[in-house]
């Protein structure tokens, strides 16, 4: 009986947390938005969340593209169809790897930073001070951070994809000696702009929404102690990674599954 009660309490806690996070999201974004006052804050947050994440995104995109080119070549050369490397690299990057890996890296690089920052603001009572002087912390602190993550992830994902494709091209054309005409032609024949590129971008938009939502909520809702902040940061990374991978399967099934 105790076990059952425990399960029930956990379920209720989860549901309550979900409700609180939805309320925060709604109040920060929908109720009384102030786009003009927010703009400088937004630019600042895009800098912290997006521009500073560029390096890790570009480097991992390059290496993932190169590894895909190398692995694809060693397998496809057995079947004499090594020209298909371009199509393999481009499709796997554009459809899957770019949005998913970008979102995972983004959760680790920017999501955890957002949570820690907001959590520390709460622990040092900066959020309550803001409220005291009549500034709504949801609008001043949460909303620009949320929008910044939402805007940055699709941009980062597109950069990841293009860098990865050129990394794959570098390996397969310049090092492994695949004829560059057939590399690009095969790629362009098989990749469809609307079905592949745009669907990949839609995925990135969804992941951007989910990851930043989790990050700002965990920061805002954390227990205001140093231990609480560390727990919240861990939760951000774990929950957003799980959410991204789970959602990716659902989105893929809807977009490409022909179910």
């Amino acid at each position: 009986m105790d076990k059952l009660a425990l399960l029930g309490r956990h379920g209720l806690d989860r549901l309550a947390a979900f409700g609180r996070s939805s309320m925060i999201l709604f109040q920060a974004l929908v109720a009384k938005p102030q786009p003009l006052m927010m703009f400088p804050l937004l630019v600042q947050q895009i800098y912290f969340v997006g521009v500073l994440s560029l390096i890790i995104i570009v480097v991992s995109g390059l290496f993932i593209g190169m590894v895909l080119g190398l692995q694809g070549y060693t397998i496809l050369v057995d079947y004499g169809s090594e020209q298909a490397v371009g199509q393999m690299v481009a499709l796997s990057l554009v459809r899957e790897l770019a949005p998913v890996v970008t979102a995972l890296l983004f959760a680790g690089r920017a999501g955890s930073a957002l949570t820690a920052e907001i959590g520390l603001m709460k622990a040092t009572e900066q959020l309550s001070s803001l409220e005291m002087i009549g500034v709504d912390p949801l609008r001043r602190i949460i909303a620009p951070r949320f929008w910044a993550g939402f805007i940055c992830l699709p941009i980062l994902s597109a950069i990841f994809a293009i860098v990865g494709v050129y990394g794959g091209a570098l390996v397969s054309i310049d090092w492994l000696g695949i004829y560059d005409g057939s590399f690009w032609a095969n790629m362009q024949n098989s990749v469809n702009f609307y079905e592949d590129v745009m669907n990949g971008l839609v995925k990135a938009v969804v992941f951007g929404f989910v990851v930043t939502w989790i990050a700002v909520f965990q920061g805002y809702d954390c227990i205001p102690t140093s231990e609480g902040i560390s727990q919240a940061t861990t939760k951000t990374v774990v929950y957003s990674s799980l959410a991204v991978l789970g959602l990716d399967f659902i989105l893929t099934a809807v977009m490409f599954g022909e179910v």
């Binding site: 400088p40 630019v43 600042q44 895009i46 800098y47 997006g50 521009v51 560029l54 079947y79 004499g80 169809s81 481009a90 554009v94 940055c152 699709p154 941009i155 980062l156 597109a158 950069i159 994809a161 293009i162 860098v163 494709v165 690009w184 790629m187 362009q188 024949n189 990749v191 469809n192 702009f193 592949d196 590129v197 971008l201």
Partner: protein
Amino acid sequence: MRMRVLEISVGAFILAGILALIGLALNVSGLTMSTSNGSYTVYARFENIGGLTPRAKVTMSGVTIGKVTQIDLDTDELVAKVAMEIDGNVDFLSIDSSAAILTAGLLGEQYIGVTVGAEEEYLKNGDFIEDTQSALVLEELIGKFLFNEASE
């Protein structure tokens, strides 16, 4: 000054994102901005389509002129009915054109090759290509070969 550097880098970041998207569109997916005169659909019936799939290309002399949009079973004649979307610029397919299902390379994808006939009248939206050649199915070929060998 610091705010200005920050704004410039954010601007460059967003620009890089847009450029990356354009690069994906033009370089990776081969999206062309050319203004086409729309497109029209013609149909063809095949005994056997082999591994033909929607989005396969339709070519003439190796040049892509359209794509396969739909494949379903013609319930009247019990053969496959393939809908092809032909580029509007290609409006000179005569009514006695023929369509064949070909294979790119030994293991490559299958596509439709169209050869133009001699008639003066041209195919319009919704017309059928009557002269078709089915896909080569390896098992059938081997079967025919064995049959010929046995009869000799």
